[in-house]
Amino acid sequence: MFNNARWHWLLLLVITITPTQLYATSVTTMTSKEVLTEADEARGNLSGVEWELHMQTDDSKGEKEMTLQVQARGFDVATTTLKPARSRGNRLLMFKDNMWFYKPGLSKPVPISKRQKLIGTASYGDVATTNYANDYVSISLGEEQVDGVPCLVYDLKATHSKATYDQIKYWVDKDRLVGIKAEYFTVSGQKFKSARMEYDNQVQRDGERKPFISRIVIQGELLKNENTVLTFSDPVLRHIPDHTFNLDLIAQ
């Protein structure tokens, strides 16, 4: 039926196409929620991870820098300010959608909202890991390329009022399943800030090395010169016990 040359061509075709087809099948059969869950996990949605976060803002009100040590488990986050020296020891606790801020010298932790500004255009909610898979209902907007990278595009609408943003347009890298671009909208539909994400860090997850968030650049839309850069370094997976997020133990 087939001569040798035809067999060779067929073999070459199978070798070339099969992995791509299999991968394409796995992505295309994933639901939006599964894609968003994967993307969330590259932003820290793990059983326990520690990293250092450097934040730098440059806007109409001037420049500012800050370095935090971050401990995250699931969507719970505890941070300790390392720099600058005048803020060293400041602590932030985000636990089950409750947020508290503690400053040494201030007498007690105070409750804060996700909307309060941490630095520049970054809200306290931006430091937290994302939970887009559960906090938002998604509508697929098809595919687009961002800087030559094929992306799945989603329109996300908050399912409850405690979510940090009301509406998000989210671009997920189709190959790596990580969110690389986001635009944030107010209730009235006005775009007020956007973000670009990079994933140069790696962590071991589900038995393989997977990309992990390394940099977020947040751009204010109303004032174009508002720019905040979050740089995530040295992620280390470790078990974070319950007491890390305990308010009774936050003050040192």
């Binding site: 020296a85 010298g105 909202s113 630095i119 809200s123 007491h243």
Partner: protein, 391 residues
């Protein structure tokens, strides 16, 4: 069984029950010595500030009988030192102060004085048993609750020092056992065994408390049952809810077996620009509603007034912006409204970050009341300005 023995027994049960549940933590890489070195932490703050105030000649302070100075200059060194090794945490906060004062009112008119003081405001030794139980003893400023005005559920010291965050609240002596049951529930046994640095109107008596904390998705709450030796037994609570990304609501209060109660309700709203407004209302059934504030105190009154607010009904309005005009300027405007005698206390706090290590700060207070009112009986205004250096 006395309360003290009862608490000792419960603490012993805590220890026996959970010491066997110890899970060894993964040892960090590196030598024993470097591990020990990594456990040290410090934060050193130096403050230099001046205060100007005008003491009132009132029935509560006739001819400045309380000896309130007109001018004050203070230098403070505040090292916070810590050490953590495996399950043990040690912390100490010694303080070294030099204060110069000048009087221009009353019998001390024209006098000046310089006073040096060294003391330990807080210290603590804490042992962790397993991942769930923490035993500690030491001197600390123990605070809790979501309220801005004061913490009425706190049976030890309801004053939270928020009018002037640059002045430290005093530490009291506590023994504590905290059991972190899981991510939702925590319970604590607390024994206040000494007044520490706190000045009390009356003799100190030990107070014992049991506190149970609950944390749910977007809400939290705590109940506190406490008993003061030869004093009342008190039930306190606080709770809060995250209504949205911008709105938080809270409640805090207590009631004792002598039918005295207090209640605080409040909430905050964060604007799109990140600045936050807070509103609170506070009612204290044991508060004094006599016409003159002087008659709220011994020997005219037979009950001890609250440590921080003496009347029955108060309101609080607060505005907070941590990037006011520039990213380096923080502004807090705070108004405390006394609904009983009509006096108000207006507070402005400004902090300007000079660089990574230093801040300029000012705290201005202005009391609008007359000499017989709560806010106005001691001083009409005070202005504090200074420099903070941190390393």
């Amino acid at each position: 069984m006395t309360m003290r023995r009862y608490y000792s027994l419960i603490v012993l049960l805590f220890v026996c029950n959970f010491a066997i549940a110890e899970e060894p933590e993964t040892s960090p890489n590196g030598s024993w010595w470097s591990t020990l070195g990594d456990g040290f932490s410090y934060r050193i703050q130096g403050l230099i500030y001046g205060i100007a105030r005008n003491p009132q000649d009132s029935l509560l302070n006739p001819d400045n009988a309380l000896g309130i100075s007109r001018y004050q200059g203070t230098g403070e060194l505040r090292p916070d030192l810590g050490f953590a090794y495996e399950n043990l945490t040690l912390a100490i906060k010694p303080r070294f102060n030099v204060t110069w004062e000048r009087w221009e009112d009353g019998p001390l008119d024209g006098a000046t004085d310089t006073d040096e003081e060294a003391f330990i405001n807080e210290w603590m030794a804490r042992l962790r048993l397993g991942q769930q139980v923490f035993l500690s003893y030491g001197r600390e400023n123990l605070q809790w609750g979501p309220s801005f005005l004061l913490s009425p559920s706190n049976p030890f010291n309801p004053s939270n020092g928020r009018n002037n965050p640059w002045l430290e609240e005093p530490g009291l002596d506590y023994g504590k056992a905290i059991w972190v049951i899981n991510s939702t529930w925590t319970t604590s046994l607390i024994a206040n065994t000494g007044e520490g640095r706190l000045d009390l109107f009356e003799d100190f008596r030990n107070t014992y408390a049991t506190k149970v904390d609950y944390t749910g998705d977007g809400h939290y709450g705590s109940i506190i049952l406490s008993h003061r030796e030869s004093g009342p037994t008190r039930f306190g609570l606080f709770a809060g809810v995250t209504v949205s990304d911008a709105v938080l609501l809270h409640i805090e209060g207590s009631v004792d077996d002598e039918s005295e109660s207090n209640l605080l309700v409040g909430g905050t709203y964060t604007l799109d620009n990140g600045s936050t407004l807070a509103l609170e209302y506070y009612h204290n059934s044991a508060g004094c509603n006599n016409q003159e504030i002087r008659t709220c105190f011994f020997p005219f009154a037979d009950t001890s007034p609250d440590l921080s607010l003496f009347r029955r009904n108060y309101g609080l309005v607060q505005y907070f912006n941590n990037a006011f005009i520039t990213n380096d300027l923080e502004l807090i405007l705070r108004g405390i409204l006394n609904f009983d005698d009509g006096s108000n206390l207006l507070v402005t706090q400004l902090t300007y970050e000079l660089n990574d290590y230093s801040e300029l700060f000012t705290v201005a207070e202005w009391a609008t009341g007359a000499a017989e009112d709560e806010f106005g009986a001691l001083s009409e205004y005070s202005i504090m300005g200074g420099l903070s250096l941190s390393y």
